[in-house]
């Protein structure tokens, strides 16, 4: 298993690049930033392998708070400590805050969201499709490996949250010991 610790100096780009990368991910997001973060970090910049990305994102997901925000802090801190974390976070939050403030001002003045709502319906449907594609990409390596318990765990987590509507903390606490135990044995 590759380690996903601090990046080697050779591929550590300037902080400005980190800022703009996260700003771009954020602006493209529309409710699901994960596909865009993966595209930027794995496919375009090649700052991480797909496997490292999955592991880092998994860690961010089990911290409280929005996943993508946690991810920007975890990724940024590997990049450049406190400064790196702050820069990635600023890139992620700054531009959308400006845009949303403008929208809020327009809303307070005009208050008509009919047209906006229609366009949004289309974009949300597409954003969902994008997330489905990422799930498929992340699942492919896990499901192709033989004698592997990962698909069982993934399917149980999916069923627990999506179909049974059990609270996420219960599903997590119920499955994590088995999943980690199996990974320990396989090690």
């Amino acid at each position: 298993m590759p380690d996903s610790t601090a990046l080697p100096a050779a591929i550590r780009p300037p902080l400005s690049e980190l800022f703009f990368a996260f700003a771009q991910v954020s602006i493209s997001g529309f409710g699901a930033a994960l596909p865009w973060a993966r595209r930027m970090i794995v496919d375009q910049k090649r700052w991480m392998t797909a496997e490292e990305f999955n592991e880092t994102f998994a860690l961010s997901q089990f911290l409280p708070g929005p996943n993508v925000i946690n991810f920007s802090v975890v990724f940024g801190s590997r990049f450049g400590g406190v400064v790196g974390a702050a820069v990635a976070l600023a890139g992620l939050l700054g531009p959308p805050l400006v845009i949303v403030t403008i929208l809020a001002t327009l809303y307070e003045r005009f208050g008509d969201l009919e047209t906006l709502g229609r366009i949004l319906a289309g974009i949300t449907a597409a954003a969902t499709g994008l997330l489905v594609a990422v799930v498929a990409k992340m699942a492919t390596p896990l499901f192709l490996e033989r004698w592997n318990s990962a698909p069982v765990i993934a399917i149980l987590a999916f069923v627990g949250v999506a179909i049974m509507h059990w609270p996420l903390p219960y599903v997590f606490l119920g499955l994590a010991p088995f999943s980690v135990g199996l990974a320990w044995v396989k090690r």
Partner: protein, 175 residues
Amino acid sequence: MNSSPLVIMAGYFAMLSLFAVGGANAAIPEMHRVAVEVTHWMSDRQFADMFAISQVSPGPNVIIVALIGYHVAGLAGAAVCITAMCGPTCALAFIVARTWDRFKDAPWRMAIQGGLVPLSLGLIAASAFVLARTADHNVYAGLVTAATAAVAFFTRINPLWLFAAAGVIGLSGWL
């Protein structure tokens, strides 16, 4: 002083952030309860519109917190709310990331990491499913989702083109 909306919002969102496992959308019902039912900061309709604005604007969904703050107390309110909602969890994420990296070769860390990946995948799949159930309320919307998924999986086209096309289809009123 303690009854100032800024102080209340700062304390409330800082507390909420630490319980918001599963992201901002998981905390929406709780925010609605406080902003509409408990404090009467806004009407039901206003809250729904804010949710729509936070969805249509680019960026993480947690941005709805800034909208609530803006509505209650202007720019200062927006700044206070987003800082309170992100500050504690970011500090925690930073500390965990540091500790995590210090034990990069420890076998227990590799086992935990290896064990979390499939769980993470299942949960992302679940949120895609939940999103699809909200977004795809008719056949056409379902087709847009399926087509986007297929194109994004098999090609490397910039997804913004797919969003633009979907926005136009939405504007036509079919969805």
